[in-house]
């Protein structure tokens, strides 16, 4: 009986030394201040044949983060990557943003992105967060890796009123490495 209790206590102590950490903010986390979340749509650019536009986002890192608000800028941006690009976006209703994120290759599980608007500050922000899960055992983290992964997305969000600023905030474990 004595040994059983010792064994259970030891197991509890050891298991408590290893835990998973999770750096994602749950969707809808309180923004504080006067923020609301905008409806966003993922955008997959296509070329004339109808095939989804392909490129390697890592190739463009870190200059990939860009916000496009009119057709001319959109055509210029995508046609530089593929001359057969066709632009179906209605820029009277939407703006387009793209981002790329750098993170450790073995730790990323998922990404979350959202666009928030604040009418009082006349500002809009894109937040991108990497969901990572890792086990920390006695101070050693399994997230440590010299290899990086890159992740990119295009998002359409409602046309911003004139004069509203747009800013991207990226939270990823390796973003500043």
């Amino acid at each position: 009986m004595k040994y059983t209790i010792t064994y259970i206590v030891t197991c509890i102590i050891l298991s408590s030394c290893c835990w998973e950490s999770n750096s994602i903010v749950p969707k809808g986390y309180p923004f504080g201040g006067e923020w609301q979340e905008l409806e966003i749509v993922e955008y997959y650019p296509k070329i004339k044949t109808g095939i989804t536009f392909f490129h390697n986002p890592a190739y463009h890192y870190p200059i990939f983060n860009k916000t496009i608000r009119d057709s001319n800028a959109c055509n210029k941006f995508f046609k530089a990557l593929d001359s057969n690009y066709i632009n179906p976006i209605d820029f009277a209703k939407y703006d387009l943003t793209s981002f790329s994120v750098k993170t450790h290759s073995n730790s990323v599980v998922d990404f979350q992105s959202r666009v928030l608007i604040n009418h009082k500050k006349e500002k809009c922000i894109l937040e991108v967060r990497a969901l990572t899960k890792s086990c920390h055992l006695f101070g050693v983290s399994t997230t440590a890796s010299n290899e990086f992964a890159y992740y990119a997305k295009y998002l359409l969000f409602p046309k911003l009123p004139q004069g509203y600023k747009f800013e991207a905030k990226i939270y990823a474990p390796a973003e500043n490495t």
Binding site: N22, S23, I24, V25, P26, K27, G28, Y29, P30, F31, G32, G33, E34, W35, Q36, E37, L38, E39, L116, I117, N118, H119, I125, R129, P158, P161, Q162, K169, Y171
Partner: protein, 191 residues
């Protein structure tokens, strides 16, 4: 200037000799205003709580609730006005020590367990607004926090306090609550 006059009038009205500091506070229900700070801004909340100090110990336990529930008005230029209901409810149970329980000025430090619930709801009949803004969200989470309170007994039965508790939900999302208010003291008869 008005604030300084208000505070000084409270202090002048206080009869210091009437305060029996040897009788520590046993129970203290309190009420005040708190502000929740996140990386994106602040929100005001109504703070209510109950502090309990068991006899002949410096340990305390405290239960506190911070609540915000309001419909905020906004205007999307060129589209129209709309309302957005914001609800934040934070309940925290703190444990810790009261460093100067027999003094007029006391300081409490401890750790706490938080349950926080947040939700938002769009209130509008405008189709464009409904298409552009998320119709709502609900989120709840449990977090451990650290807490600190400083309290000053202005009368035997009345104290003013300022408190703090904070935790981090994720990178860049440190959440801090700072509160300010008044408490009513039920004194202990311990020796």
């Amino acid at each position: 200037m008005k604030k300084i006059l208000f505070i000084s009038s409270i202090l002048c009205c206080t009869n210091i000799s009437s305060i029996n500091i040897h009788l520590p506070i046993a129970f203290q229900p309190y009420i005040g205003i708190s502000r929740m700070f996140t990386s994106l801004g602040g929100t005001n909340l109504l703070q209510t709580g109950l502090y309990y100090n068991p006899k002949n110990t410096i340990l305390f336990i405290q239960v506190e609730n911070n609540l915000h529930h309001l419909n905020h008005k906004y205007d999307w230029p060129g589209v129209g006005p709309y309302k957005y209901q914001r609800h934040i409810n934070n309940t925290v149970i703190n444990f810790g020590v009261n460093l100067f329980k027999r003094k007029r000025f006391s300081a409490l430090i401890g750790i706490g367990y938080n349950y926080t619930e947040t939700s938002g709801k769009l209130i509008s009949n405008n189709e464009t607004i409904k298409r552009n803004i998320s119709k709502g969200y609900f989120n709840s989470f449990h977090k451990a926090s650290i807490c600190a309170t400083v309290s000053y007994r202005i009368k035997n039965f009345v104290s003013v306090y300022a408190n703090y508790h904070g935790f981090e939900v994720a990178d860049g999302y440190r959440t801090t609550f700072i509160g300010l208010g008044l408490g009513y003291n039920f004194l202990s008869e311990e020796l």
